[in-house]
């Protein structure tokens, strides 16, 4: 390992932070604004990718600003960034997926005509910057700095909708994550006190192994608890499902990848580079952590079964899957470590795909509840195929990313003698199938007419029996004389009402009866509009054209939950949604497959091997 002094880690962190300024400045011009986002995303990705060859060759890129805070005695804490294998793994992942998510965000935010899009993109850039900062932090203090900044930057995204529900979720989010931050701070202070330093050292800080075990245990517990909040370890997970009120790209990149994995990443740093697997084992802290992780894996899977809201189900799935990684770290076995670390990118690709699909369904059909998705495969074939592939991966079926990581995990847990843990993994795999399969199954193999035969779903169907479904939100905007069921007593049943994120909901019953062809034509028009046209600054994306309610009088099928009265129409893959959304979905899904088929060709596995070799001395 050689340290190479370089400004590249700094640049990687700063690019997206700096991009906030032009994004805010071009608030009136959406196309320009999104160009900045794309530029920043590509630059961040390019910078982190550029460091891969060097890191694979054994170098570490370091940007050092000198002393930031005092340590104990003569020790001190530097403000330094480093791109080592573990850090680069996370940075590369976050920046790569940000590129995809940025594209998707454009389609999603414009498709829903969301408010405050500038704030959204600015906060998104800030979040990515902070996440990359977490990845490239050189020591625990710098990691903490970015960890807290990440909280601050993501808060506006959680609260984006500005509804009571969103604000409540935002408050909960802040309380939980800052609470975790306090624990991390306390743990960091103790580590600095015990060792005089906070620098990450492969295999652990030596002085920690010789310090007072009680104090070391306290520090470990505080750190893991603090990071465990964002890693959604039970019982500190409950902010995550609530945070699903955020726009779906946020849920996808941040609450399945960047934010939650900053927590997992923190635990990885603590286990591998602060304490080191050996010391953790000596302190006897691995087993309790593994137990918590295994518990979370199983319980979260069971809870996921009972969620009808698709995003909430995905959230609990995330809670469960994150603990796979933690379990891998806690078992302290080289192969389990490798499996856990490899699951970071694997889960990221798969979960991102799933969230993107949920978002696409939401934008196109305003459907959020699984019970309303029967037969939706006709309407959105490409989306649901991608969903199916990612689900398979989640369950650990071979040829998709999830398999490789789970394989390592399973072997590792058997090697560690933790048959119980292996059992938990297997049970969870089965549960994964149980909560994903019905979605895929009903999407393709059931029609929206089939009543109640779906397994494991308890909520009543909405939309099917309702004579005239109506969002009920914008009743005032209904054309005068529209003889629709505004006062429909059943309307409280609709997902729209339970999910205020659908705040632009409009439906005209009289229009809904129009021929599918007409609707189809409108849909095409919609698709065309979604392509940004830089030459056309008076195009539909200028703010004054955002009067969604007025524009979309003719596109009725977008605005109520569940299938339209005539059932889902059948659409071709190319017209089911805009390419802004389908493209990212397919890219992410492809990524998941590539990781599953040729893991050794992708940088992630090799980075993981370097990390494991550094931490344990074992070459996989």
């Amino acid at each position: 390992m050689t340290d190479v002094s370089s400004l590249r880690p700094l640049a990687t962190v700063l690019v997206s932070a700096v991009a906030i300024a032009p994004i805010l400045a071009s608030r009136g011009r959406p196309n320009l604004r999104e160009s900045w986002t794309m530029l920043a995303a590509l630059a961040t990705f390019g910078l982190s990718a550029s460091m891969v060859p060097g890191v694979l060759a054994g170098d570490t890129y370091v940007t050092d600003f000198g002393t930031f805070l005092p340590g104990v005695e003569s020790g001190s804490v530097a403000f330094a960034l480093q791109a080592d294998a573990l850090g680069l793994l996370f940075a590369l992942l976050a920046s790569a997926l940000w590129v995809i998510t940025s594209l998707y965000s454009i389609g999603y935010m414009r498709g829903l005509d969301e408010d405050s899009q500038t704030r959204y993109f600015a906060a998104f850039a800030g979040s990515v910057s902070a996440a990359v900062g977490v990845a490239l932090a050189d020591n625990l203090v710098v990691l903490f700095v970015f960890y807290e900044l990440l909280t601050v930057a993501t808060y506006p995204l959680v609260t984006h909708d500005q509804t009571d529900e969103a604000r409540a979720a935002g408050r909960k989010y802040l309380a939980y994550t800052f609470g975790g931050g306090v624990a991390v701070l306390a743990g960091t202070l103790i580590v600095v006190w015990l060792t005089g330093t906070a620098d990450f050292t492969a295999g652990g800080i030596a002085a920690l192994a010789e310090s007072d075990p009680a104090m070391a245990r306290l520090a470990f517990t505080l750190l893991v608890t603090g990071f465990g909040v964002k890693a959604a370890l039970m019982p500190m997970h409950s902010w995550l499902p609530d945070a699903m009120v955020a726009p779906t790209p946020v849920s996808g990149l941040l609450h399945a990848v960047a934010v939650v994995k900053s927590g997992v990443f923190g635990i990885a740093r603590v286990v591998l580079d602060v304490f080191g697997p050996e010391t953790v084992s000596d302190l006897g802290m691995g087993l309790p952590l593994a137990v918590v992780a295994a518990f979370t894996i199983v319980v979260a899977s069971i809870i996921a079964l009972r969620q009808d809201n698709l995003k909430r189900r995905l959230a609990f799935s995330t809670v469960s899957q994150l603990s796979y990684i933690v379990l891998g770290l806690a078992l302290l076995e080289p192969r389990a470590l490798a499996g856990g670390l490899l699951h970071i990118p694997a889960h990221a690709f798969m979960k991102l795909t799933l969230f993107f699909c949920a978002g696409a369904i939401h934008v196109e059909t305003h459907t959020d509840d699984i019970s309303e998705m029967a037969g939706i495969g006709k309407r959105m074939p490409g989306t649901m195929i991608a969903f199916g592939i990612a689900s398979l991966g989640m369950a650990g079926i071979p040829l998709v990313a999830g398999f490789v990581s789970k394989w390592y995990l399973l072997i590792g847990s058997v090697q560690a003698g933790g048959v119980v843990f292996a059992g938990a993994l297997l049970v969870s795999g089965v549960l994964n199938v149980a909560y994903f399969w019905p979605i895929v199954y009903q999407a393709f193999f059931e029609s929206e007419d089939a009543v109640g035969s779906k397994p494991l779903i308890e909520n009543p169907f909405g939309g099917r029996d309702a004579p005239v479904p109506d969002g009920g939100r914008n009743a005032d905007d209904e054309p005068a004389g529209a003889t629709d069921g505004v006062a429909d007593p059943d309307e409280g049943e609709y997902a729209v009402d339970r999910n205020p994120s659908d705040h632009v909901v409009e439906h005209s019953a009289s229009k809904r009866a129009e021929s599918p062809d007409a609707a189809h034509a409108d849909e095409d028009a919609e698709s065309d509009r979604a392509v940004p046209d830089d030459a056309d600054h008076n195009g539909p994306y200028e703010p004054e054209h955002y009067d969604h309610v007025a524009d979309d009088e003719d596109a009725p099928e977008h605005h109520h939950a569940g299938p339209p009265a005539g059932g889902w129409e059948r659409r071709a893959l190319s017209s089911e949604t805009t390419w802004f959304m389908l493209g990212p979905i397919l890219t992410a899904a492809t990524g998941a497959v590539v990781l599953g088929i040729v893991p050794d060709r992708v940088a992630f596995l090799r980075l993981v091997e370097i990390v494991v070799a550094g931490a344990t001395g074992v070459t996989l």
């Binding site: 403000f79 506006p156 969103a166 802040l174 800052f178 202070l189």
Partner: protein, 525 residues
């Protein structure tokens, strides 16, 4: 050339007299005098600080007598920090006050007097002289608080005067006890006599400690002796709230540390562990109670005032630890808090001037209406919460590390969780600013963007409260939410610059720590 030392006190006082007399020639000229005086004071204190960096502490006896018979002035790393802070803050607030007022000449006379009093408190090495400057500071502060229109500020000022005088009198009584026990008033001499002749456990010394500490607690506004403070901060003109919230309690806390460690010394705390424990307990209670009370406030300035109670709890906590790292942290936090809290008051003033909003509820949707002001306010609030790498975080780090080093786990818990307590009241504000829609108060017209009302009726702005004296109340109707035009560039500039400094200055703290390290080491030896 050490004659510069007394000039640091004399300069603002002379400027104050000039400001007052200038009113004879031309009214409203006080601001310009204050500007010249403050700039000169900044230059002078900066020069003194430079000399301290270069040559170490400066000691000067007024009138060329010898210690302990004459009055000694001492500028070391810590007092240099204070006098520079006082001068710079006074200058910064002036930039705000130019448009915001108050504008009378006597006001600026009192303003400069406060600067002189605080500078005197910072550099004196004589216990009774400290009392005299404490009273000068007090008088100037009471008067400034009372300078707002309307009876409310007069009531607050009188209350402050009564409570503050009791505090100062108790401080004087504490001096009396120390003097009766030792027969001297010079701080260094007192420390020597107490240590060699009287002993740390003597009743008189303990009583002296108790009265001095309680008296200064009143001035610092440590819970439950804070009762004067919220109303004083809330009812004073915005410029004054900022100035006194940034400086008065800060320099009083400095005086507290100075007296505890220079006069009574670490050995006293070691000989009387109960004293240190009581300090720590008072600090912890202050942190928690101040935060809880801050959450309960509806008026923004009162909330900020209670926040100060909590933040000074942290400083006192650091002072109780008798640990170098924590002590440096106390000073980092004193400076950081002064900058952040003062600017928060100014930001609240900008908001009130621009929109009339003074309560938390009225801050709804402020991010849309006043993006720059609201953004700066949010940044300052987050810095106050202690989000890294801001100044607020760095101060907290030093204090917390000090707590770890001394093994004060209970105090450590309070210090780190103060982050959450602070978050509790600031998150509420931030949520309203950015994540709620602005709703025009009932009965108002001409404020909704698309409300095609008669232009010109926007004089009826969302303002139920008294504005500063000069608020002319005329705003143009640009078809947007009501925005008053009288927020000057200077008012914005101060707030924005402070927000930027709050974020970036954390990087300079390590350098600063190197600078004060020798002083702190001597203080704690």
């Amino acid at each position: 050339m050490t004659d510069l030392v007394p000039i640091a006190v004399a300069l603002p006082i002379v400027a104050s007299v000039v400001a007052l007399l200038a009113g004879l020639v031309r009214s409203r000229s006080g601001w310009y005098v204050a500007l010249v005086g403050s700039v000169a004071q900044v230059a002078l204190t900066a020069e003194l600080a430079r000399r301290v960096v270069a040559d170490g502490a400066i000691r000067y006896v007024v009138g060329n007598f010898s210690v302990p018979y004459g009055i000694e002035l001492v500028i070391d790393g810590l007092s240099a920090t204070m006098i520079v802070l006082v001068a710079v803050t006074a200058l910064g607030v002036l930039a705000y006050a130019r448009r915001a007022g108050p504008r009378s000449n006597p006001f600026y006379g009192a303003y400069l007097l406060l600067v002189g009093g605080l500078t005197g408190m910072s550099i004196t090495g004589d216990l009774f002289n400290l009392y005299v400057f404490l009273e000068i500071t007090g008088l100037a502060t009471y008067v400034l608080v009372g300078s707002e229109e309307g009876g409310r500020s007069a009531v607050a000022a009188l209350r402050y005067l009564l409570v503050g005088t009791v505090g100062a009198s108790l401080f004087l009584l504490g001096i009396g006890y120390a003097y009766v026990a030792t027969g001297t008033l010079n701080m260094a001499d007192l420390a020597a006599v107490i240590g060699e002749d009287v002993g740390y456990t003597a009743t008189l010394i303990r009583a002296s400690f108790a009265f001095v500490v309680v008296g200064l607690f009143v001035k610092v506004a440590v819970f439950p002796l804070h009762t004067w403070q919220p109303e004083a901060y809330a009812s004073a003109p915005d410029s004054v709230s900022a100035l006194i919230s940034a400086l008065v309690s800060t320099v009083s806390a400095y005086a507290l540390i100075r007296v505890i460690y220079t006069v009574f010394t670490v050995d006293f705390l070691e000989a009387n562990p109960l004293a240190a424990d009581l300090l720590a307990a008072a600090a912890a209670v202050s942190v928690v109670a101040g935060s809880v009370l801050a959450v309960a406030q509806s008026e923004v300035k009162r909330m900020l005032a209670y926040s100060s109670v909590a933040q000074f709890g942290l400083v006192v906590a650091a002072a109780s630890l008798a640990n170098e790292t924590a002590m440096i942290g106390a000073f980092v936090h004193l400076v950081g808090h002064a900058m952040m809290k003062g600017s928060l008051f100014l930001a609240a003033g900008v908001v009130a001037t621009a929109t009339g909003a003074r309560t938390v509820d009225e801050y709804d949707g402020l991010g849309e209406r006043l993006p720059v002001g609201a953004g700066a306010l949010a940044v300052l609030a987050l810095a106050m919460v202690g989000v890294p790498p801001t100044l607020g975080f760095v101060g907290k780090w030093y204090i917390a590390l000090g707590a770890v080093e001394t093994g004060s786990w209970a105090l450590l818990a309070v210090i780190v969780s103060s982050t959450l307590l602070t978050l509790a009241y600031f998150a509420r504000l931030i949520e309203r600013i950015f994540f709620r829609e602005y709703a025009a108060p009932a009965g108002e017209t001409g404020v909704a963007p698309d409300d095609a009302d008669v232009p010109g009726d926007a004089d009826v702005v969302a303002d139920g409260n008294g504005l500063p004296a000069d608020g002319n109340g005329v705003s143009t109707d640009d078809g947007d939410a009501p925005l008053r035009e009288d927020v000057s560039f200077g008012m914005y500039a101060v707030v924005v610059v402070a927000a930027l400094l709050a974020v970036t200055l954390g990087a300079a703290v390590f350098e600063y720590a190197q600078f004060v390290q020798p002083t702190v080491t001597r203080l704690l030896s």
